[in-house]
C-alpha cells in the first residue's frame, strides 16, 4: 500500500441552518453584526432544570421536497442542499435534466446525538447512521457514506476524515455535514455536567462561567482539484491541513495546558506544511467555560509562541451558542468566509480580560484583515480534539481555477 500522489482539496459549497439564520449568508451577517442567537428554551418542559437558555431554532420548515422525521435531519438536509446548490450540484430528481447527473458524492455526517429528538422517542430506535442513510437517499448521494461521532469535535473530525478520502482517491467529492438538535436527553445531561451558564457566553472573559448549547447544521462540500477542473467547480477555499487526537487525560476535563488541542493544531500545521507564523487567524473552540478557554489559550501560546499575540482569535459560540456536532463545521464555514471576505466576526459579550486567556481576541466589532491561512479548533467530551486549516483558494493554485461569483 503506497502513498498516493498528493491531491489538493477545495471547498466548493457551503450551507448552514443556525439560530442566527437559515442560510450561510444570514448566519454570516448575524455574526458580523454581533447578534445573539440565545434565548429562552421552550422546546419542551424543562422540569425545573436550571439551564433555561439555548440557541433554539424557531420557525424552521424543512425543504418540502424531502420528507424528514426529526428536527436534526431537517437541519442537516437543508444545509446540505444549500451547499450543493452553491456548488451547482442539484442531485434531486426534480431538478432539470442535464445537471443532476453528477458523479458519485460521498457523505460524511458528524453528530453527537443523531436523530435523538426533543421527545427522545428516537432514543434507541435507530443509530446515528440513520441520518446519513436518509440524506444519501434524499439527495441521491451514491458515494461512500460515513458517520463520525466524536462528540463536539465531530464536525472538524468529519472534515479531516473527508479530506483523507479525497487525498487517498477514495472519493472525488465529499459532502460533510455537522448537525445536532436540542433534545431533552442532551439538555439534562449537559446541564448536569454543570457546563452551562445562566449568564451570557463570554469566551476568554475573566467572568466567563459556562457555555450555552444550541442546534443546527452546517455543511461543506469538498472536492479534489481534479474534480474542480473537470466539472468545473469554483473553489471557495482550500482545505490544507487537518488533525485529530485524544487528550488521553480525562473524559470531561481538558488536559493540562491544552496539550491535546496543541497537538491537533500541530498535526494540522504539519499536514499543511506550514510553520506557525503562517497562520493569520484562529477560529477558536472558545466555549466560555473556565477550563476550555484557559487551556485553549495556553495551547495557542505553546504552538504559536512569539507569533501568538499578533494572531487574531475569535470565538463564535458567544453569538451562536455551542452547536454540538455542528460546531466544527459552522466554525469552518465562518473560517472560509473570513478568508474570502477579509473580515473576522467579533467575539461578543467580552468585558474583562483574563490573564489566563492572553489571546488577541477580536471583540465588539468585526476586524478587517488580509488573511492567507485560517485555523479552526474543536474539542469535545471524551477528550477529543480536531483542527483544520483553510487557505485562500487562489493562494497555492497550480492552475487557473474558475472564480466563484458569490
Amino acid at each position: 500500500m503506497s502513498v498516493p500522489p498528493s491531491q489538493r482539496i477545495f471547498v466548493t459549497g457551503m450551507g448552514a441552518i443556525t439560530p442566527l439564520g437559515f442560510s450561510v449568508n444570514e448566519t454570516w451577517r448575524g455574526l458580523l453584526a454581533g447578534h445573539s442567537a440565545i434565548g429562552p428554551l421552550d422546546l419542551f418542559d424543562l422540569g425545573g432544570i436550571s439551564c433555561t437558555q439555548a440557541g433554539q431554532i424557531r420557525h424552521f420548515t424543512p425543504p418540502a421536497a424531502i420528507p424528514v422525521a426529526d428536527r436534526a435531519t431537517g437541519f442537516a438536509v437543508a444545509a446540505c442542499m444549500e451547499a450543493l446548490a452553491q456548488a451547482s450540484i442539484f442531485p434531486n430528481r426534480n431538478q432539470e435534466p442535464g445537471i443532476r447527473n453528477v458523479p458519485p458524492i460521498a457523505l460524511v455526517t458528524a453528530t453527537n446525538f443523531g436523530t435523538l429528538d426533543h421527545n427522545a422517542s428516537a432514543l434507541v430506535n435507530e443509530g446515528p447512521f440513520a441520518t446519513a442513510d436518509r440524506l444519501a437517499t434524499a439527495l441521491n448521494l451514491t458515494g461512500p457514506r460515513a458517520t463520525i461521532t466524536l462528540s463536539c469535535a465531530a464536525g472538524a473530525a468529519g472534515l479531516a476524515y473527508a479530506a483523507g478520502l479525497i487525498r487517498h482517491h477514495r472519493a472525488a467529492r465529499v459532502l460533510v455535514v455537522g448537525y445536532d438538535a436540542i433534545s431533552r436527553f442532551a439538555w439534562s445531561g449537559l446541564c448536569a455536567l454543570r457546563t452551562m451558564t445562566k449568564d451570557r457566553v463570554r469566551p476568554f472573559d475573566l467572568n466567563r462561567n459556562g457555555t450555552i448549547f444550541s442546534e443546527g447544521a452546517a455543511a461543506l462540500l469538498l472536492e479534489s482539484e481534479t474534480s474542480c477542473h473537470d466539472r468545473p467547480a469554483a473553489p471557495l477555499a482550500e482545505l490544507l491541513g487537518w488533525g485529530t487526537n485524544n487528550n488521553g487525560f480525562h473524559i470531561t476535563a481538558p488536559s493540562p495546558r491544552g496539550a491535546g488541542s496543541a497537538l491537533a493544531m500541530r498535526q494540522a500545521l504539519r499536514r499543511a506544511s506550514l510553520t506557525p507564523d503562517a497562520i493569520d487567524h484562529i477560529n477558536a473552540h472558545g466555549t466560555g467555560t473556565k477550563a476550555n478557554d484557559a487551556t485553549e489559550s495556553q495551547a495557542i501560546a505553546d504552538v504559536f509562541g512569539a507569533h501568538a499575540p499578533r494572531i487574531p482569535v475569535t470565538a463564535l459560540k458567544s453569538s451562536l451558542g455551542h452547536m454540538l456536532g455542528a460546531a466544527g463545521t459552522i466554525e469552518a464555514v465562518a473560517s472560509v468566509l473570513s478568508l474570502r471576505e477579509g473580515v473576522i466576526p467579533p467575539t461578543t459579550n467580552f468585558e474583562t480580560p483574563d490573564p489566563e486567556c492572553a489571546v488577541n481576541l477580536v471583540i465588539h466589532r468585526p476586524r478587517e484583515a488580509n488573511l492567507r491561512y485560517v485555523l479552526s479548533n474543536s474539542a469535545g467530551i471524551g477528550g477529543c480534539n480536531a483542527a483544520v486549516i483553510f487557505a485562500n483558494a487562489t493562494l497555492r493554485a497550480s492552475a487557473p481555477l474558475r472564480e466563484n461569483p458569490s
Binding site: 500500500m1 422540569g47 485529530t244
Partner: protein, 404 residues
C-alpha cells in the same frame, strides 16, 4: 517505497471465545456459538438466539479499576488491553502522540443511554446521574481506551452501521501510509443488551420465535439476522516499524476499497447495492495488485438478511466470475456483530491462516444466489493466498479489505 500496513497484535472477544487461541480453536471446530440469550430477557415475538461473548473479567486487562463501564466499553477496553499484550507492546514505551486509535460501533452503549434517560423519565431532569451522561456518547468506549493507555494520536470514531469498523480500518491504513502515526489501534465493539435487542426486534430484522437453528445465511430461506457481540482490536503499524522492533507480523492489509454506486440517470434509480460492493472489491484488489483468482477465500459479512446476503452474493458472482473462490460467512457461527463485524472478520481471517481450514456457513442448504463456492463443510482446506473481507450495510454502504 512500499511499506505496507501490517497487523502485529490481535485482541478479540467474540462468541467464539476470549483471545486468539480460543477463537482459532472454535473456528477449527466450525460449530455455531449461537444460543438463546442468557444475560437478559429478550423481547417476545422474536427468536432469542444470539451470539454472546463468554464471561470475562475486564479488570484483567485494565491499567486501573473503573467506577463504571458499560458492556460496550468493557468489550473494547478488554480487546485493547489484550491486543497490546498480543503485540508484545508495553504501552509505556509508545510515543503517545504517534499512537492512534480508531474504532467502529453501530450502536455504542445503548443500555447506558436507556438507563440515563430512565432517570429523566421517572424522576425528572434535575435528578439524572451526571456520571452516566459522558458514557452515553458514541465515542465513550474509544475515549476510555485512549485514556487508559495514553493513545493520544490520531483518533476517529465511526458509527456508520455495519461498515463502521471497516471505515476505521481503512482510515487507519491511510493515516499510517501518510506517516501520521507509528501505531494505530483499530477495531470495533458492539454489545448486546435489552435495549439493542428491543431495537432490533422493533426494526423487524430478527428471525421469528420459531427460528431455533441459527440464521440461514446465503440461503433461499433467509429469515433475518441473529445478533452477536464482540470487542476486537488490531494493532496496525507499518511493516518497517514492526520489523525494526522485531514484532511478529500476523498479516498484511494489502488493499481496501469503499463502495460507491453510479448515481441515477434521467430520473431513474441509483444502481443497486451490489454494484457498490463490486466497486469496493475492485478497488481493494487493484490496490493490492492481485487478481480475483489469487484469492484464497472470501469472508463475507452476509448475516441472514436478504438485503445483505443477496447483494454480496450478486457482487461476488459478478467479480469472481467462474473462479471457485471459497466463500464463508462468520455470522453463521457468531452472529451479526454489526458495527464491529469488519474488525472481527479481519481478525478471523488472520486466525484462519493458522488453522488451514475454513469454517462452514452452517444452515446453508439452498443458496438464494447459486454459482458461488459457498463453504458448507467444516474440513474445507484453506489454500495459500490473500483473503477478501467484505462489510455491507443494508442501507447501501460497503467496504472491502484484502488481508494477506
Amino acid at each position: 517505497m512500499n511499506d505496507p500496513v501490517v497487523i502485529t497484535g490481535i485482541g478479540i472477544l467474540s462468541p467464539l471465545g476470549i483471545g486468539s487461541a480460543e477463537t482459532a480453536a472454535a473456528l477449527r471446530e466450525g460449530e455455531s456459538a449461537l444460543s438463546p440469550v442468557s444475560r437478559f430477557t429478550p423481547p417476545r415475538g422474536v427468536s432469542p438466539l444470539c451470539g454472546e461473548v463468554p464471561a470475562f473479567r475486564v479488570e484483567d486487562f485494565l491499567v486501573a479499576p473503573k467506577a463504571y463501564l458499560d458492556r460496550n466499553s468493557e468489550l473494547l477496553l478488554a480487546a485493547t488491553g489484550m491486543a497490546l499484550r498480543n503485540a508484545g507492546i508495553d504501552a509505556a514505551t509508545l510515543a503517545p502522540e504517534r499512537t492512534g486509535i480508531m474504532i467502529g460501533t453501530a450502536w455504542a452503549g445503548q443500555d447506558t443511554m436507556r438507563a440515563f434517560f430512565a432517570d429523566y423519565a421517572q424522576k425528572g431532569p434535575r435528578l439524572v446521574k451526571p456520571f452516566l451522561f459522558p458514557h452515553t456518547y458514541f465515542n465513550t468506549a474509544i475515549s476510555l481506551a485512549a485514556m487508559e493507555w495514553s493513545l493520544r494520536g490520531a483518533h476517529q470514531s465511526f458509527a456508520s452501521g455495519r461498515v463502521a469498523a471497516a471505515q476505521a480500518l481503512i482510515e487507519a491504513c491511510d493515516l499510517l501510509a501518510d506517516d501520521d502515526a507509528d501505531v494505530i489501534f483499530t477495531g470495533g465493539c458492539e454489545a448486546l443488551g435489552p435495549s439493542l435487542f428491543n431495537t432490533l426486534a422493533a426494526m423487524g430484522v430478527l428471525p421469528p420465535t420459531t427460528a431455533t437453528d441459527g440464521p440461514h445465511i446465503f440461503d433461499a430461506r433467509h429469515n433475518g439476522l441473529v445478533p452477536g457481540e464482540a470487542g476486537v482490536m488490531l494493532v496496525l503499524e507499518r511493516q518497517s516499524r514492526a520489523t525494526d522492533r522485531g514484532a511478529p507480523i500476523l498479516a498484511t492489509i494489502t488493499g481496501s476499497g469503499l463502495g460507491f454506486r453510479d448515481p441515477p440517470q434521467d430520473g431513474g434509480s441509483a444502481l443497486p447495492i451490489e454494484s457498490g460492493i463490486a466497486n469496493a472489491i475492485f478497488a481493494a484488489l487493484q490496490q493490492s495488485g492481485i487478481e480475483t483468482h489469487e484469492l484464497a477465500c472470501v469472508c463475507a459479512s452476509a448475516n441472514g438478511a436478504a438485503t445483505v446476503d443477496d447483494a454480496e452474493a450478486q457482487a461476488l458472482r459478478a467479480v469472481l466470475g467462474n473462479f471457485p473462490v471459497p466463500v464463508i460467512a462468520p455470522a453463521a457461527l457468531c452472529g451479526d456483530t454489526m458495527g464491529a463485524c469488519a474488525a472481527l472478520h479481519v481478525a478471523l481471517a488472520v486466525l484462519l491462516r493458522g488453522n488451514g481450514t475454513l469454517p462452514p456457513v452452517t444452515g446453508l442448504k439452498t443458496p438464494a444466489v447459486p454459482g458461488l463456492a459457498y463453504v458448507t463443510r467444516a474440513d474445507t482446506p484453506l489454500r495459500t493466498g490473500p483473503i477478501l473481507v467484505l462489510a455491507t450495510d443494508p442501507a447501501g454502504s460497503s467496504a472491502a479489505l484484502v488481508v494477506r
